[in-house]
Each structure stands twice: as C-alpha cells, then as structure tokens.
Amino acid sequence: MLISSYLRPELAIVLTESIDRKALFATLGERVASISDVAAEAVSEGLAERESQCSTVLEQIADIGIALPHAVLPGIPEPLVAAVVAPSGIAFGPDGSAVHLVLAIFGNPDSPWQHVRMLARLARIVAGKGAVGRLAGAGDAAELFERLKAEDASHG
C-alpha cells in the first residue's frame, strides 16, 4: 500500500542536535497535535507505551540505526506517518543505542489491519537497496519528505 497520502510536511523532521527517545516522542506529539485533534501527550504516551512492550529498533542497515515506533490513537481521523532524520543520533534503544532514521506511524484503533499494512510498507521501504542511506542523507525536512515519497513510489 502506498503511504504517501499519509505523509505530511509537518511530520518530516531533520534534527540538528542529539536527543533521546523521550524528547523525540515529545516532539512527535507536538507535531501530530498541531495538525490533528489528538493531544500531544496522548501521542507521546502511546509511543512510549508501545515501545515498552518491545523495542521497535530494527537491525542496522549500512551502519545506520533505524526505528519504526508506532501508536494507535483513539480519535485520530486518519493515519499519519512521520519521518525523522538525526545525523547525530537519537538514544533510542533499550540500551540507549542510537538510531539515525525514525519512521513513525499513528493509526486508528478502528483500522488495525491498515496499521499493520502501513508498518509492513515502512519495513519494505527501509529494506530497499540504498533506501536508508538516501533517507538518512536528506539535508532538510522538505528533502526528507520528497525522498520518502519517492521511496514509497518506487515500490509500486
């Protein structure tokens, strides 16, 4: 499934400094709250709760740490996808290990299979040859947004 229609420019972020997972989730919460009726705290808490069940960090690709955090948010009118690039790293893993690319999903509890399919799509995108390098190499938010749309489109 194509995820491009769930991407929003406001949810493409290139960080200039190193932060930790909690700060990342707070940032994502603020961004999602700015374009929906969902409270920022609900977003960050939803992400943290899911992360506490099992880490969403994937195996590194080309020395780039990747995480696919996600949360189901009652009241979210439509799913959203966020992309974050952090050249300096985000202390994200349970052991504090760094990730440099985060692709997050915010879904609706009424559409669980849609959430599963979106997660599968992101996993497929990052598995694409050279995709992680291209995404992590985005210089600014606009470039990251366009690159993720291009990676999505490349899988048909």
Partner: protein, 113 residues
Amino acid sequence: MAEAPSSRCLLILIARNEESFDPLATGLLDVGITGATVVDSKGLGAIIREEMPMFAGLAALLPRETGSRILISVTTRDRIEAVRAFIEEMKPGQRPIGAVLPVESTLGLPDES
C-alpha cells in the same frame, strides 16, 4: 446453470528457510494479503537428510534450504501481480517458490468485488 468462474486465485508460496519468511510476510501484508494460512513444513530434502538413514551419506550433497513454511491464501489477480513485483525485489536467496491456481468458486469468503 453453471456458476460464473471466480476472479480469485489460490496463492501458494513456500519460504525457502525461516529467515526468508519474515520479509515475505511483510511484503504480503504490504500488498494487502492480510488473510492467509501458514503451515510449518519440511522439504523432502530435509526429511531425507534427517529422518532416512539410508540417505545419510548423501546429506552433505542435498540442499539445506528445502522449505520451511507454506503460505496459502485465496486472493485477487491484482494482488497476485503485486506479489510478483514484491518477490522480484527480494534478494534471490530469499525468494520463495510458489504457484498460482485459478479458483472455480469460494466458500466462506466475503463477496468478490
């Protein structure tokens, strides 16, 4: 009067090994195949290698990747094409083997659209 043929297909995919099942299942979910039956299996090569002493001396000659799980799903022709495209993206060593069969009619599934 004969029933109109179904536009659906039976998809059968055999993962080569345990490691190749995860990316395969991920791809199927992405293209919209969210309903399937997965059967743990053993390929004939594994049976010969592990359970038939008569062939024990030949074990080293037999391929080790002889099928670990079989995935079966009734799906649409559109999705079959999407599956083909996805399998082309997989690393050659991870690609499943499989078959697509026409389905005459279905039982217990939602109406075709």
